[in-house]
């Protein structure tokens, strides 16, 4: 499945400044791995040494936090948008 990924400012140095890129992947985890092969260096920014998402990295699929879905296993439908957003405190 092809999905759009919205890239936050902090990671755009890796995507040559592109705010949005297309990747292939049947799940959120696969899509993010594909992002890493397309834009090397992305993986170590998003994942910790155990392969889990870093704790200040939030990933949303169609505007829903993937932790409310099936995490990295969440299936991705064609045309859906994944968004990578740094966690920010303060309310």
């Amino acid at each position: 499945m092809s999905a759009k990924v919205r890239i936050p400012t902090q990671l755009r140095t890796l995507t040559n400044g592109q705010p949005e890129v297309e990747v292939e992947g049947a799940s959120v985890g696969e899509a993010l791995k594909a992002l890493d092969s397309q834009f090397p260096g992305m993986g170590e920014r998003l994942f910790d040494e155990n392969g889990a998402l870093r704790r200040f990295v939030n990933v949303f699929l169609a505007d829903e936090d993937v932790r409310f879905l099936e995490g990295l296993e969440t299936p991705v439908q064609g045309g859906q948008t994944l968004s990578i957003v740094p966690a920010v405190a303060g309310g």
Partner: protein, 413 residues
């Protein structure tokens, strides 16, 4: 402000210049201001503070803003009230309330916003923005008006009317979002990438903004005669305020205003309808599972608290506790605080006082400890919460007979 050098990632330790940066480019960890405490300690701090303005800016040596061009509506310097009657109700012999309802816009947010907009103006921003559960919106709009900046505030659409109108009156563009605070926060994080010329106080200015909460600890220590309390109870939304209260006490010890090795127990308060940090504490795990909030304490309704780990860590290491109270307990606590101390708190204050009561009844606060509870927002902002619980005693005709008929049995009480 002699000590400000740079920013540092709290997760991986990478350094950054003191600009409008807020997360580490590498690991997305939050950035923190680094001070040179040795330099600050050389100043005659006590005199500088005691001769300073009656606002948070009396502590400017420990805040991340250079010069004197602060955006100052008079945030801070709020009363620390000895709460004997509430203490007697709860079995606490030395209870104090930090009454932060008495800020310019009625909540502690004036502390953080005054710092954030002062810094934003220095960095050249013309537009102030925020993602807010209401109190922050009020404060950003007011401070922006005072500073002559444009304000754009983003809120969940179901907020209390006082918080919406109390923001719009200052001329801010209020954008109500069909979603909860976490949705608003995500959108604002994304907007920050698209509109880097806007100062989102709790996104790209967050590093500086959060520092304002330290002044709660500074004031408490000063008001107690440069002594630390034994135990404080702080509400948890994102967790930022609690971690900064802790940092505030630590900094005072570092610069010599409190004895070295000062240790304050920090306890946290949440609403059961949004208690991801309390749940992690009670389950003895460091994994904070985000939740979909459902509570009348809307100002604390952050289901995905970004500083939750740090708040949990601070509480555990300090020997404090975290607990949560139901909506009914929140209302009861608002009424109890009002009727014992004459302080009218919003729902977040009800959460704090309700949790204080719970921790005291569980024996997690010693009756002899000097305890300070932070009441951080004014009750007039959330009248909806208590409208079913209190009201007029009687409606009568303007005659002595009518009074005697309806109120006669209460005259001798």
């Amino acid at each position: 402000m002699p000590g400000l050098q740079q920013l540092r990632c709290r997760e991986c330790g990478r350094h950054y210049p003191a600009e409008a940066l807020y997360v580490c480019d590498f690991c997305f960890g939050p950035l923190e201001v680094v001070y040179d405490y040795d330099e600050i300690a050389k100043l005659d701090l006590k005199t500088r503070i005691e001769n300073g303005p009656h606002s948070i800016w009396r502590y400017s040596d420990l805040l991340p803003v250079e010069g004197t061009s602060q955006v100052d509506l008079g945030a801070g310097y709020t009363p620390l009230v000895r709460a004997e009657r509430l203490g007697a109700e709860l079995g606490l012999k030395d209870l104090w309330i930090k009454n932060d309802t008495l800020n310019p816009t009625g909540s502690f947010k004036d502390r953080v916003v005054s710092v954030a907009l002062s810094k934003a103006r220095q960095l050249g921003f013309k537009v102030a923005a925020c993602a807010s559960t209401g109190n922050l919106a009020n404060s950003v709009a007011a401070h922006a008006a005072h500073a002559g900046m444009r304000a754009v505030v983003f809120i969940p659409k179901d907020l209390e009317s006082g918080k919406i109108l109390g923001t719009a009156v200052f001329g801010a563009d209020v954008v109500a979002i069909d979603g909860n605070y976490d949705d608003v926060n995500r959108l604002c994080s994304e907007l920050t990438s698209e509109h880097p010329s806007w100062a989102f106080v709790n996104v790209n200015i967050r590093t500086y903004y959060a520092e304002g909460s330290k002044t709660l600890a500074f004031e408490v220590a000063e008001q107690l005669g440069w002594k630390a309390p034994d135990h404080v109870v702080v509400p948890i939304a994102s967790g930022s305020q609690l971690t900064k209260v802790h940092k505030g006490f630590q900094e005072l010890a570092k610069v010599g205003l409190l004895p070295e090795g000062t240790s304050v127990k920090i306890s946290g308060a949440q609403a059961t309808g949004c208690s991801p940090v309390a749940t992690a504490f009670l389950d003895k795990t460091d994994y904070i599972r985000p939740v979909k909030p459902k509570t009348i304490a809307k100002s604390l309704a952050i289901g995905n608290p970004a500083d939750g780990w740090y708040a949990l860590d601070v509480v555990q290491k300090s020997g404090g506790s975290i607990d949560a109270v139901t909506d009914q307990e929140i209302v009861d606590a608002i009424v109890l605080l009002a009727q014992t101390e004459g302080i009218f708190a919003e729902t977040a204050g009800g959460v704090t006082i309700g949790t204080l009561a719970k921790l005291a009844s569980k024996g997690l606060i010693d009756p002899n400890e000097k305890v300070v509870a932070f009441v951080t927002g004014h009750g007039l902002k959330t009248l909806e919460a208590i409208s079913g619980s209190v009201g007029v005693a009687a409606t009568i005709a303007p005659t002595l007979e009518s009074f005697a008929e309806k109120m006669g049995d209460r005259i001798e009480e």
